[in-house]
Structure formats: C-alpha cells, structure tokens
C-alpha cells in the first residue's frame, strides 16, 4: 500500500506544527521519520491516523484521496499505529485489548473471548511474539505491551504500520528484537513508518530517511549517511555531544543510601533494596529504561514517596521521614523529571518561579512579609547569569520554550548552596544548545564539590556526564560501573544482565545496531 501526504499543514494557534508536508511511503519499505522532540513528527502521524484534522492538504492511499476523520477511518484504510504512550487499557487482558473496537461476538451479542484469544495466538506464533492472551496488560513488561500494540494493528490487517518513538521505553536489546520484528513485517509486505530521534537506530533499519525540523521537511537521506550528517540536518547546525570535563576530585561520601525500598499506591514494589553512595565532587548517573524505579529513588530521597523504608543519609543525617522542606533546607537541589508539572508553576511569572522554594526566606521575605523588590532583582540577576530567553521577569513561565523553562528550574535550584544536586532527565525534550548549557552547569556544580545524582534514560547523556553509572532494572541495582563503560555492556545491564556477564556477552554478540554501524563504517571506508 502506498501512502502519500500532499501539502499537509496543521496549526495550533500561532504555532505551525506541520508546514506543507509532502511525503510518500512506498509499499513494503521502512521509512524513518527523524526529528528532534517538537519537530512535528507525532502531529503528522496523528493527522494520518485521524486523531487530528489537517488545516490544509490531503492524504492519498494508493493514489485515492483518504477521507480520514477518525481512527476507525484510518484503520479501515489499512493504517495501524503504535503510539508512544501505549493505548492499552491496563486492567484488561491482552485478548480484551486486542478485540476492543472490533469485537467478535456469538449467541446474539455475547463477547467471543475464545475467538479473540485464537487471533492473538495466531499472530503471536507467526511472528514469535510469545504473548499470553489472558495476561492482564498492567502486569506485563513494556516490551511485551508494545507487542500487544503491534498485534492490535495486525489483527486489523494494517498494511502501513506507524511506530511512534517505539524505542523510547525499550532496552537496547529489546530494541534489537523490535528491529527484527520490523524486518519480518517488511518481508510480509507491510510498510513501516518509524518515528524516532535516535540516529543509531535509524541507520540500522531504515530504507529511507526523512528529516523533519520545526514542522518542515528539511531533507531526505540515505541510511548510509553518517550520524554527524543526520544530526546536523536534524538540528540545523553541526553538533558535538561530548562535554569537556576534568577527572573528578572526589571528597567524602555525601549521600549514603542503604536498603532503600519503595512501594507505590498499588503496593507494587518499584524500588527494591537499593544501596549506593555519592561522593562530593562526583557525578553518579542512574541509567535504565524508563519506569524501572529511577524516578522513585530520587523522589524517595526528597521525601515525596510516602511508602519508603531503608536509610538515606546526607552527611550522616537521616533524611527518610523528614518533610520535603526539611530535605531541601539541608542542602538538596532537585530538578524534577517533568518540569511543567513538578518544576514550575506555569501561570506564575519567571521571577516568582525563581524563588518558589525560597519565598519565605530572607532576603525574599521578612516574617510574613513578602518582598517583591528582592524577588525582582534576584530574577534580573539569574536571567542574565543563566541566559534565560524571556520577554521579561514578569512573563508567565509556561510561555517559555522548553529549554528556557528548564533553565529557570536549574537557575532556581543552583541559586542556593547545595550539598547534593539531584537532576532527573535534565535535558529531556531540549534543543541541542540548551542540552550543552545544562550539561556544562551540572559539571560546574560538580567541580564546586557538590555531589551530583543524575537520572537519565539516554545513554549519550550518561556517557557524557557520569563519573560512575548505576544501572537499575525492575527496581533493583544491576550494578555500579565506571562512567566510561561500553554502551553495549550498559545496554545489557539495562535488561537485567549482571555486569561481568554483560561484559562477556557484549564481546560475543555485539548488538544489531553496533553490527550495522560496523558495516556502514566499513562501507564508508571502502568508498574512500
């Protein structure tokens, strides 16, 4: 099936998310859509899938115009989609999720669960998915949930399958398995649109690459293009991701975590007996696939998790059981994972956001009296120091770009003396310039002798920042390894393989992506 977009435009208010997009997906190809967060990739796919309506332009399926007002129209036309955030009902079984919307029935309207189970098993066996149709979705690992999503699309005879950032939640090895599945589907004649911002994957799997920047198509590329070329197309200038840093000058242990265990509100264990320490002047990065307990570790340290036991000592003082305010006052800086929800009050001005945790302290207050003048002068200083691009200090924080919002959060957290800085996903969704800036400030803070704890799901960031890397899997510590550990080893550890064994396996079986890269590099050399 051939899918074609002609002159598609979508605006959200003054923002043009998609600007006259022309794109052709040929039958049986794996077409990569590459772009930074916010480049308009997901908007485009939601337009194809009927979740949004284009303001201009048309979509053609096999040269016939597609009238696509809802997902059911798209599905009827043979378009299937695996969303970045899975569209699965957590309390339903796999079979129930797969049948939803196209339920087989018998005896005058009763659900035919057996038929649904059979369909799941058929597809599962054909592609070697190993999915139990009666498993409740919320109990399944994310990799398996993703397969359930793919089964959902295949049950409806999807001939174009859109995968929206499918690897964001996977370990490198699970990514390999997904790539294998994509190849099988392609061999079956299914076209695949693969949306991502990760260059390595693109080069391993794509037949064609289209690069999107700021809502526009900025070019097409061949999978043999180098990573640097793709990166510069994606961000519009040449980039280096490496951070200049000196070897750490470590001091005493600042943060000492022993036997930390956290359960969530459903009594699921999310952090299981985690122990580690962070010394003054070093960066410890917690690596792992999203949702393996990293966030909860940082929240437990700060006192945001009510059901936590074990010991968290800051300079020998116990933090568990203390209020968030007490923890902050004892010298902990916290950059939360979701700045829009936990880091800022969107409707407050930049100036107010810069003193959120200090508003009741001198010089911003004396007793119950708030001192706007001090807040204002503080804002002027910070805006200059951190190069926050804002109309004025009175601008509401929510109107700033992601990068500048993050600068506000970091400026606030670094504006008081710290013993420990915790930063969760400090550069998620930021443009490259802001990433460089944030990385530099974090290293600068380290060099001032602060202990730094980073949580990141991006191995590039872990490699760039970490002096030591702690890998978490399913709430447990897989191992703590030096910062310059090989990506393959980290990847295996992220899948729960202990460090020594990961070392061995990585040597024996380089991952598909590494393999593809080696080949491509060789081709490059041959061409020269």
């Amino acid at each position: 099936m051939k899918l074609e977009l002609r002159g598609i435009t979508k605006r959200f208010g003054s923002l043009v998310a998609n600007d006259h997009i022309d794109l052709v997906i040929e039958p049986g190809e794996i077409h990569c859509l590459l772009g930074e967060n916010g480049a308009g990739k997901s908007t485009m796919m939601n337009l194809i899938y009927g979740l949004l309506e284009p303001d201009e332009g048309e979509i053609f399926v096999d040269d016939k115009p597609l009238k696509c007002n809802s997902p059911s129209d798209a599905m009827a036309a043979g378009i299937g989609m695996v969303h970045q955030h899975f569209m699965l009902v957590p309390v339903f079984t796999v079979a129930e999720n797969v049948m939803l919307g196209a339920e087989p029935v018998r005896n005058g309207g009763l659900l035919d669960l057996d038929a649904a189970r059979k369909r799941v098993r058929q597809i599962s066996e054909r592609f070697g998915f190993d999915v139990d149709p009666d498993a409740v979705v919320e109990t399944l690992p994310v990799g398996v949930q993703q397969r359930v999503e793919i089964i959902k699309a295949l049950v409806r005879d999807a001939r174009v399958l859109i995968l929206d950032e499918p690897t964001a939640v996977l370990t490198p090895q699970e990514t390999d398995e997904l790539i294998e599945i994509m190849r099988q589907l392609k061999a079956n004649g299914t076209s695949i649109v693969f949306i991502t911002h990760k260059l390595r994957e693109v080069r391993a799997v794509a037949d064609r690459i289209t690069v999107l920047r700021l809502g526009k198509i900025v070019g097409e590329a061949d999978p043999s293009a180098s990573e640097a070329e793709l990166a510069s197309m994606m961000v519009g200038r040449s980039v280096t991701l490496a951070v200049d840093k000196e070897p750490p000058k470590t001091g005493d242990v600042v943060l000492d975590v022993q036997g930390l265990t956290v359960v969530d509100e459903r009594d699921q264990v999310v952090v299981d007996d985690v122990s580690f320490d962070v010394r003054a002047g070093e960066v410890l990065a917690i690596a792992g696939v999203q949702g393996n307990g990293q966030t909860e570790v940082t929240e437990a340290i700060l006192g945001l998790q009510s059901k936590a036991t074990g010991s968290v000592r800051l300079d020998g003082k116990e933090l568990i059981g203390r209020s968030v305010r007490q923890v902050l006052r004892s010298g902990v800086g916290f950059v939360p994972e979701d700045r829009k929800v936990d880091g800022l009050v969107g409707d407050f001005s930049v100036a107010d956001n810069l003193v959120l945790d200090l508003h009741d302290q001198p010089p911003f207050a004396s007793g119950p009296i708030f001192k706007p003048a001090a807040v204002q002068s503080n804002a002027t200083e910070r805006i200059a120091e951190f190069d926050i691009r804002t109309g004025s200090a009175a601008t509401p924080a929510k109107t700033l770009s992601g990068g500048n919002q993050q600068k506000v959060v970091i400026a606030r957290e670094l504006s008081r003396p710290l013993r420990l800085l915790i930063a969760a996903q400090p550069t998620r969704g930021l443009d490259v310039g802001s990433i460089e800036f944030v990385h530099k400030r974090i290293i600068a803070e380290r060099d001032k002798g602060t202990a730094v704890l980073i949580v990141s799901t991006e191995l590039d960031e872990v490699n760039a920042l970490a002096d030591r890397v702690l890998v978490m899997y399913r709430g447990k510590v897989v191992g703590i390894v030096p910062g310059d550990t090989d990506r393959d080893v980290l990847g295996l550890m992220m899948a729960g393989v202990p460090p020594q064994e990961a070392d061995k396996q990585a040597e024996e079986h380089p991952t598909l992506i590494e393999h593809a890269e080696a080949l491509l590099t060789k081709q490059d050399e041959d061409q020269k």
Partner: protein, 431 residues
C-alpha cells in the same frame, strides 16, 4: 529472533524481601476487626444479662410453618463474638504473612458481628426475622436502582451525583402521570422518561460543555427538589384527587418460589417493580462484563484515549450511558410512589440517591457487589426501626447513623482496596 534475545531473559523474580512486606502490610483491617470483636464480646456478651431472644421464621400466611427460634442471648452472643475474634486472628495471620484478604472475610465478620448484636438487642423479646428481611429489601430497592444508575455512568467515566434528583423526579412524574391517566402502568412508563430528562441535562453540561461533573450533579439535585416542591405546593397538595392519587401496585406472589421458608416471602412476594429490578441487575451484570457494549464502556472509563484510537466514540458512549443510568434511576423512583406510599410526597427520596452512590462504591462498581452493599445498608436501616418498636434502649437517632458509619469505614479501605475506573470524572477533550 537474534541470539541476543536469549541473553536478555531477566533473572526469575525472587520472593519479596522483608522491607517490601513491611511496606505493603495494612494492619487497619485486623485491628478494626479485633476492636469490634472485643466490643461485641464485652458489651453484647459478658456484661449483658441472660435472657431468651426469639426470632420468628415464618409469617402466618406461609405454606410451611417453622417454629420460632429461641436462643439464650448471653451465651449465643459470646459464641458469635468469639467467632468475630477468630476472624480477626485469621486476618492478623494473613497480614503477617503479607497475603491478600479474601473477600469473604469481611462479609463473614460482618454477619457474625451483626448477629451477635441482634441476639443481644432482642434479648427478652421477639422479632420476626422474615419481617426484618422484608423491610430491609424494601429499603434497599431504591439504593439498588440508584447504584446501578451511578455504575453505568461511572464505568464510562462520568460521575453522577444527581442520582437523588433522578430518583425523585421519577417518583414525581410516575405519580402525576398515573394519577392523571388513572393508570399505574402509564406511570411506570413515565418514570424512566423523567430520569432521562434529568440525565440529559447532566450529559449535555458535563460531556458537551465540560462543566465540572460534581457541580452539575449537585445543581441538578437542587433543581429537582425545587421544581417538585413548587409543583407539590401549587398543584399536588391542593388538588390531590386529580394530581396526586396514583394508588399503588399490589404484590404478586410467585407460586412455589414464595413458599421457600424465610427467604421465599421476602424475595418472591413483591411488586412488579422489584421483579423488574432483579432483571435489571442481571442485565447490567451480563451487559457490563460479557458484551461488546460493556467492554467498550469499561474501556472508555479506564482509558478513553485507548478507546478512541480503537475507533470508539468516547463522548457518545458516555452520553448514552448517562441516559441509560437516568432511565434506571427514574424507574427506581417509581418504587416510592407506586409501590411504597401510593402518593407523592415532598423530597420523599430522603437522600436515597447519595446512599446509592455509597452502595456502588462499597460494591466496587459491580452490580452484584452493589446489591449486597445496598441490602446491608437497608438491613441496618430497617433494624433500627424494628428495634425501636420492641423498646430497645439505644436512641433510634444513634442507630440510624450506622449505615452511614459503615459506608465511611468501607470506603476508607477497611474491607480492602477500592479502585474506581481510572478515568472516572475526567472529561474527554480532544485537541
């Protein structure tokens, strides 16, 4: 698959550590059971005087006559209270092992406790058990209809606080139509229409205009109270013969089934409205869990985006469900006028819609659970009036509080975790 896949198989899950057990243990239920059990043992047993408690098991018209059950009150209460304490000990043991509490445990405990109390309260007197249960069911009927109404809405993600208004308007319109037409059956048809009218307002404001669901619900209740009170004062009371004399349905005895001792006359000698209720309960149960409609409704209430991407129109499912709920509650409202009173009275639902909401939550959003919760509340409610008649020393106002106290305890999680539909109360707005 590639060879790498074999390497990624994670280590098998180990048994939970002590840390985890300590965090996941919930000591509240066993402690509550123990306190209540000890209370029963001391107050109903040890401190009580010994007398005989007599329970009638048959009414005079029954085909099979059973002798009244007479028991020594002190001894029986003590035995039952010890039973409570054994249940508490079992709960402690389960919690210590960090195991789940089975659902039958709170039910068993509740039964033992209530029986222990009942034997103590009836000591030296006699009550009819059949009568007690009959009264309990009669009180529970509107709660059951109301709970089903709330459930159909909330399973699709719309909170319905206006159940009371829907019951009341059903009661009002059924009474008026039956009076004017001189036909009870027409009144019965008018009742669900009345419920749908109120539900339609709720649906339009909450689903189409995204107004806060709680606020619209509260406002609709007040609106229905106001409208019915006004019409009652200006029409129904002054011209009662024309407007407010519907009469009521007689009881239909089902042959054979109504001859079953104790429960036969309770369940199978009822008005048509109660028989319809049995059917509606069964229908909602089957529809919700075994049909296409039910699967879609539950998907919409749990994860509307997932339903939307599967091609289900979320907001029309919700709209339809709120109307179906309205029809159920409106029909239930007819029970007040056409089965119980034979006449419409001001605010005659007396907050039944809110109790229904509690029954729905206690029953964990399932029809069967809600029925049991409603029966329990109805039983407690009826018990206080029966005990008032035999001269029970505790003031009836205090006794009347028990159903509400029970509800708070249940909702607070003392009988296990309660998990509402995930998208309950969250409007679905497409960008």
């Amino acid at each position: 698959m590639t060879e790498t896949t074999t390497a990624t198989t994670p280590a098998t899950t180990e048994p939970e550590s002590e840390n985890v057990k300590a965090l996941t243990r919930n000591w509240a239920p066993p402690i509550a059971y123990t306190v209540l059990g000890l209370f029963a043992l001391v107050v109903f047993g040890i401190l009580a005087d010994s007398a005989t408690a007599t329970f009638g098991l048959s009414t005079r018209s029954d085909a099979i006559q059973l002798d009244p059950l007479a028991v020594p009150s002190k001894l029986t209460s003590i035995v039952l209270a010890v039973g409570c304490l054994l249940a508490a000990a079992y709960a402690f043991w389960l919690t210590g092992k960090a195991r789940k509490q089975p659902l039958w445990l709170p039910i068993l405990f509740g039964l033992l406790f209530v029986m222990s109390f009942l034997v103590w309260a009836v000591a030296g007197a006699a009550i009819s058990l059949t009568g007690l249960l009959q009264g309990a069911l009669a009180l529970a009927v509107p709660f059951i209809f109301g709970a089903l109404c709330g459930m159909v809405g909330e399973r699709s993600g719309v909170i319905n606080i206006a159940i009371d208004g829907q019951l009341l308007f059903g009661a009002f319109l059924s009474g008026v139509v039956a009076s004017l037409a001189g036909n009870l059956w027409l009144g019965l048809i008018a009742a669900p229409i009345a419920g749908v009218m109120v539900a339609w307002l709720l649906a339009v404001f909450t689903i189409k205009y995204f107004v806060n669901q709680i606020i619209v619900g509260v406002v609709l209740n007040v609106l229905v109270y106001g409208v019915t009170n006004f019409l009652y004062g200006s029409l129904l009371a002054p011209e009662q013969d024309t407007w407010n004399s519907p009469g009521k349905f007689g009881k239909l005895e089902i042959p054979l089934l109504s001859d079953i001792p104790v429960i036969g006359p309770v369940l199978f000698n009822q008005t048509i409205i109660v028989y319809v209720m049995y059917v509606v309960v069964a229908l909602v149960h089957v529809a919700l869990f075994h049909t296409r409609w039910g699967l879609r409704v539950r998907a919409v209430g749990e994860h509307p985006e997932a339903a939307d991407t599967a091609g289900i129109d979320v907001n029309s499912v919700r709209f339809r469900n709120v109307l179906i709920g309205g029809a159920i509650a409106g029909f239930g409202g007819a029970f007040f006028t056409l089965a119980q009173q034979g006449i419409f009275n001001k605010e005659m639902t007396a907050g039944a819609g809110f109790i229904a909401l509690a029954a729905m939550i206690m029953g964990r959003w399932t029809p069967i659970g809600a029925v049991f919760a409603a029966l329990l509340i109805g039983f407690a409610d009826n018990l206080q009036s029966v005990l008032g008649i035999i001269g029970f020393p505790i003031p009836s106002e205090l006794m009347a509080m028990t159903p509400y106290l029970l509800t708070i305890l249940a909702v607070a999680g003392l009988v296990g975790k309660i998990r509402p539909p995930a998208a309950n109360g969250v409007p679905y707005i497409k960008s």
